[in-house]
Symmetry: C2
Subunit: 520 residues, 2 copies
């Protein structure tokens, strides 16, 4: 494969062939190595890590003064942290981490070829303390030991997975030379063992916005003890490093044209801007889009409904599940599909209420609440009918209305209309699975040609990967951080008016959604 120029890599192996010491040149071991590395890197700013000094004399003699020096660019100088046999086949590796509150993903990267070697994801083990962030913050507040317990849960599991990856790929722990971590503000704090108390209490103050590089040994990671850990900065309690990573991954902060970046989760996080400016805001989009909230909702997994089509004539449901198993629930993207299809089929009206004459037998009442039978008990994987209640739909509508209102408001703030924005990057694994056609149908996102919507997948992981593989990208993080303006959504009367207008399907102002033709 093509050997990429390594000029942009900030974690590197540098070949260092020294003239062995003699009476004529009795420069000390560390200074001798430093001298050669300085010459190769063409800078005086090379410092040798103290911990390396303890083993350096032995290693230099063992390798006959021909070594590969492991260096990384610190704040303003190259740090020489280890030595390896000269031109040894073993490479150096990095781990990009998406530190989600539900799911953590590790990606193993070859820092020489920039290849992705492997990827692994697992549930955040802190879930056993609390499924949501707030309960973890509360737990951490019960004492230093609880905070350390939460930190340990993540680092222990991450270490386990790193060991497994290392074993699988035959990598020594010392060869893992860099880590980049992107997570929301709370997850970042818990990862670093920092008190998250202030994050969820007025006036919502994190301990730190912009951490420096930290040594892996200081955060308890079992890789090269001097390996740098790059932690993505946050802009505030509600705008975390995951979003900065998203901006980095989208590339929008380098483009001339103005784009939106949309991340839909518990919060609707939206960024607008280009290479000159960036504006961000986050607002509670409501939990309807997260699995586990709608009665039949759950996180994506085997048997979960991820796509729904309703024949407008026969009103027959065609349901797709993950792994084609009997359905057990529905995930966020499936829910959007379902509601869009119900609307197109006329089974719910523009106020998102069930239309009994269209729903027919599928409409049942459970505890006095109207429910639609999506999957009858006999076809379900759980043995019980999967049903969607009117309140489930109402919650989704509030979420979609919040998203659309936020987009409108932020565009208004910069005196643009939604139609003028040429690209909508959609962040998150969730974004990848949403059918934009369905999201438009329910009026969650503007009625634009589908090609303006660019799903980016796991942008936290992608951003962390880029930061690990490129000094330019790493520098861009600070540029993003410094240029971004975070606006608190001012939930005033105007916002509420916009919000109310957006609570219809697709919108009270049908002219905004010319492509949506409901069967009503």
């Amino acid at each position: 494969m093509k050997k990429l120029s390594d000029n942009d890599m900030w974690i590197r192996k540098v070949g260092a062939e020294m003239i062995p010491p003699s009476l004529k040149d009795n420069t000390a071991d560390a200074d001798r190595l430093q001298k050669v590395v300085r010459k190769t890197l063409q800078t005086e700013d090379v410092v040798v890590a103290y911990s390396l000094l303890k083993k350096l004399p032995r290693l230099l003699r063992e390798y006959a003064y021909r070594v590969e020096a492991l260096v990384f660019m610190g704040r303003s100088e190259w740090r020489l942290i280890d030595v390896m046999p000269f031109q040894h086949a073993t490479g150096i590796y990095g781990i990009a981490i998406d530190l989600g509150s539900s799911t953590i993903v590790l990606r193993l990267l070859d820092l020489e070829t920039r290849e992705q070697k492997d990827e692994i994801s697992f549930h955040n083990p802190q879930i056993k303390i609390g499924a949501d962030i707030l309960s973890r913050i509360h737990y951490a507040g019960l004492g230093r030991d609880r905070l350390e317990e939460l930190q340990g849960l993540v680092t222990d599991r991450v270490n386990q997975e790193i060991h497994a990856l290392s074993e699988k790929h035959g990598i020594g722990a010392g060869a893992i030379a860099g880590i980049a971590v992107a997570g929301n503000t709370t997850m970042t704090h818990l990862f670093l063992g920092l008190d998250p108390y202030g994050i969820c209490r007025e006036p919502y103050i994190p301990v730190i916005n912009t951490p420096d590089l930290i040594r892996s040994s200081e955060v308890g990671l079992d890789v090269n003890p001097e390996a740098p850990v790059l932690v993505f900065p946050n802009v505030g309690s509600y705008f975390g490093g995951d979003l900065i990573a998203g901006i980095l991954a989208s590339g929008m902060s380098r483009e001339d044209e103005i784009s939106f970046l949309i991340d839909v989760g518990t919060n609707a996080e939206v960024v607008i801007g280009n290479k000159d400016w960036l504006m961000a805001c986050a607002g509670a989009a409501g939990p309807a889009l997260e699995g586990g909230v709608a009665g039949m909702g759950m996180m994506a997994g085997p048997g979960v409904i991820d796509q729904v089509a309703i024949d407008p004539d026969t009103l027959e449901f065609r349901i797709r599940t993950i792994d084609d198993l009997p359905p057990v629930g529905i995930c966020g993207s499936g829910l959007i599909d379902l509601v869009a299809q119900l609307f197109l089929a006329g089974m719910i009206d523009l106020m998102a209420k069930f239309v009994p004459e269209k729903c027919g037998d599928r409409l049942v009442e459970i505890d006095g609440i109207r429910n639609l039978v999506v999957v009858p008990a006999e076809a379900s994987g759980t043995g019980r009918a999967l049903t969607l209640s009117q309140p489930d739909i109402d919650a989704l509508v509030r979420s979609k209305a919040a998203m659309y209102t936020i987009l409108t408001t932020i565009a208004n703030t910069v005196n643009m209309s939604l139609d003028e924005i040429e690209r909508y990057y959609v962040a998150g694994t969730f974004g990848t699975y949403i059918d934009p056609r369905s999201a438009i149908t329910i009026g969650m996102i503007p009625d634009r040609p589908l090609e303006v919507y660019v799903p980016l997948g796991n942008t936290s992981l992608e951003g962390a990967t880029r930061a690990l593989l490129s000094m330019r990208e790493r520098d861009e993080i600070r540029r993003i951080r410094d240029r971004i303006t975070y606006i608190e959504l001012n939930v005033n009367q105007e916002f509420m008016n916009l919000f109310s207008a957006a609570k219809f399907l697709p919108h009270t102002d049908r002219s905004l959604f010319p492509s949506v033709r409901a069967n009503s």
Copy 2:
């Protein structure tokens, strides 16, 4: 007392009054503090130590966002390592350490007033492993645990003494915010836990010449865990940080005129130069000048002879001892006095041999070797006569000849005569006690007006003190290190000829010592 400008201090308390967080300004705690400190220090380059982050939220709230920030200048940025109550009376302190192989001296410094608060000295506890450096190097080579044992002996004792000093002066451990250490190359290695193996074996390679600042916690010192430890660099195995500290303390590297710096110990270490250049060399001066080698020799202490006068007419000995106690031995400066006086009294000749007719009854033979009774048994503090043997004198003569020859050789190297050098700085406690008149009499140092000899006392300690109290002085260390040329004394025929000529009292060429008039 006069408040010195603190512009030159690189370890400082910086007052930081912050506007407490509000919904309008929800900058994170660390970033908020950093911002104020950046403004005060007028630089963007301020980073917050990771370990401080863990306690920062609590402390900022406890102190109501008005604190004193403890900062020090790292390699290229200010490091913010701790916070204290605003305008609190408790100061910040530093410890300068003279890390001698025999004696360790700690000096407690007030880093705000630059006052010296206290000083304490004690025998290097490594002596119990080996009195001389070589035996310690050998011991360290027996295994990592032995090396750590040697390191621990020093750090444990230093910690003990720091605790005692702190208690005495009511100083919290966190308030000791900087340490500077000057020692020879081996002592520096043992202090840092670095393998000294290469130092004493051809081609004499230290592990490191120029260490960076190290965190106190990394070397096991019980002070502020983030406090910087400045370790003086060495130029090679035989030219250590103690000498660099000596050059710094002398000020010679800033002067226009060319000076000598002389340190007499086991090695005669000599530096010549000025603000433009520096040349250094070290040669074994022989151990005759160190206590414990001459039969009656010992380190300075109670009852030790430090001054001798012999009446040229009556040949009566007038002996001064430390604390006026009955004599128990003689220290290096006393020995030089004694031999000079013996020569002036005609009791030894210009070849430094006893003159029996002058010595009279004082001359005795012990095991076939001529000895001079300096103190008869009845006057001695040991109950036995204190005697000086012919071999003792011969050893001293070799040492003084080596010193004189080194001075001549190094002056020749730069095409100067000894008379052209306007100042001879004499380093070391030992140098303080030598009577330059006596040293001239035996031909150890050139026959120059006494005012050219400037005793500097403990220059390791003084250099360490200066480096701790001033950024300019700290920077000067690197300038000294970079400009110094270390020359290996080429012990060729010419050197040997000069050496032979210098083995007479004061010299074969009497014209070199016009002021010396022996009673012969």
